[in-house]
Symmetry: C2
Amino acid sequence: MKGKEKRNVIVGQSGGPTAAINSSLAGVYRTAIDRGYKKVYGMLHGIQGLVEGRYVDLSEHIRTGLDAELLKRTPSAYLGSCRFKLPEIHDDQALYDKIFEILDRLEIDCFIYIGGNDSMDTIKKLSDYAIVSGSDIRFVGCPKTIDNDLALTDHTPGYGSAAKYIGTSVKEIIRDGWSLETEHGQVIIIEIMGRDAGWLTGAAALARSEDCDGPDAIYLPEVDFDMEAFIKKCKDLLKKKASIVIAVSEGIHDKDGKYVSEMDNGVEYVDAFGHKQLTGTARYLSTVLSQEIGCKTRAVELSTLQRAASHCASRVDILEAFEVGGAAMKAADEGDTGKMVVFVRTSDDPYQAGTEVKDVHKIANDVRLVPREWITKDGTYVTSEFMTYVRPLIQGDVGSIMVDGIPRHLWVPGFQDLL
Amino acid sequence: MKGKEKRNVIVGQSGGPTAAINSSLAGVYRTAIDRGYKKVYGMLHGIQGLVEGRYVDLSEHIRTGLDAELLKRTPSAYLGSCRFKLPEIHDDQALYDKIFEILDRLEIDCFIYIGGNDSMDTIKKLSDYAIVSGSDIRFVGCPKTIDNDLALTDHTPGYGSAAKYIGTSVKEIIRDGWSLETEHGQVIIIEIMGRDAGWLTGAAALARSEDCDGPDAIYLPEVDFDMEAFIKKCKDLLKKKASIVIAVSEGIHDKDGKYVSEMDNGVEYVDAFGHKQLTGTARYLSTVLSQEIGCKTRAVELSTLQRAASHCASRVDILEAFEVGGAAMKAADEGDTGKMVVFVRTSDDPYQAGTEVKDVHKIANDVRLVPREWITKDGTYVTSEFMTYVRPLIQGDVGSIMVDGIPRHLWVPGFQDLL
């Protein structure tokens, strides 16, 4: 703010890790320093760690330009992450007072939180409390999620790299499936993350190109899953091809909302936000097909690989993640609070997108699904509109910094002991 | 052979696919053409397809230098593979006569087979039959297997790329594990291919570097698995670290030879060579730990990704695969038969290796295990000797040829219909 000497910034990371979240951290740091802030603190394990008084001075971690480049290429949340839902203000005002006491002690002007839906809930509550309590601290959110399901933004950093990894890996798995012939045909089922939204699963279609048919069917959670139709589809496909590949979201469910993974006898696990943790959709479907058709089946879960695969990151994604970190810092510096930075796409081809800030109250706890019209009528593939949307986000690569044959990540002595 | 006009060559691929097997195919083709052979045929689905009269003229597939470069970067077996065990000659001489009839009709001088243990059994039998039946056709094997378990060779093409992918992915998974704190700690179990030999599982140790502790324990099939010691090890590790990562081979078994995966109630599947197909080792161990320790667990199977990940291939591996294909062709051209090309390493640092030809009778159906002294005394890690061995094989990258954000593979119109 004009006329007032700039003091310090604190930044945290929250929710599921991605291949791009640390590039946003690098972006926040760079812009904070460039704009004249004295110190940039990093919360360890987000707001949960901050409450416990756990933070670092980022200048001890991002010491050189090379460190910043390594950070951009480091997967997972460098500072540690959390899934911690702040209580409502009236339910635990003491907690809010404690947080603001810590922020005041650290002489914080700007609080940047890099995360998804649940993290924006944190920005909303803290910025609300700042207004109520007369604090000058500005709270701005920086979007991040491989799920790409945040409202009001064209897309979220982290999605492009995960989509590129999924497209690349699905194509390699399809090709692998050509190699061996089996008597009754083979069905490979690839399980992809995305509980509610099918953005990631739809990205499997990126494997489709001049040299590859792509997956033979794609099942998103936006469309109710019909087991009988699925079995019939596989039978029909096997009449034409010896090896078929199906991409399914971990969150597909029948018309009554029952998850396919729950049809199995897997253990159910619910996290702090009440989200069901799913497992075994592909495995369950493989077993069904093997029984119903008698074909060979293979279940492949892309698991955490899809969110951690920095070695296959998209250049557009990593640079945009850096940009959006800087934009969040800029917004807070210029007085915004209770806001999140969003991407606005102005053109698909050539791809052009810029950033804006939006009211976080309109974003938090909302989920943006794949539009129904971007999914084929029979619900077994994505349309060309979906492809036009996702294609620009996976372009280019960052180039891993290789040491002795393996990508190098950012690490400073004693760092892991802090986490 | 001197004084005789050169005619044609046929080449086939067999066994499990790798990221490097097509580079060997490109190497065979290049050397065959350079040495003056007229046509190079490719068997479709190996010897099994050849018996059915299925083959292509490779000049219709490798039409340009760019095609050859794409082929080197294409995962899976370009020509299709098979797991077909030739019967003993005295059990089905008619089959051998049929094969030689086809080879004679195609005017074949040299038969090159790219594969692992079982494929060398095919070379052995066909070269034996050629001698018995007075045929001039020369049969030479070109090594290939991600398992790295072929006898008499320092290593096998395909292993280096799989090892690089495993080291890279394990490192990313370890880092991902740092992000979220859990109350009772977290154990991530990564299941890696290799039924009998632990070469691939040991490669998980490549994640250990200045910026990463590497996996916390590694269990190879060369050492009997002790469930009680395993649980105690995990308990001890969780006292020191919040997130631990364990790499296990799919083939680990107890002292009675019972596979850990069979301790689960998974379905057993036996292939044509009588090999048990395993699944679910990591999943089973996760369940055990979750019950015994109450920690959070996650099972990650690298599945076919580890053998198909051309996008993460090792430059040393791809170039050596090309070299060994050429060396096999050269050996056959110079009159060798019943031989396989092997690598002989003359120096670890700087890495230097050359090729030689060895009698395939000494190779077929033998399995080369990780030496016991390359595994720590307690059987839970590999030693520095193992690392010195594997490190040179993962160096460098090939550089994917990217089209619209996804690696391009070799494909010609109508090709997939042939397979």
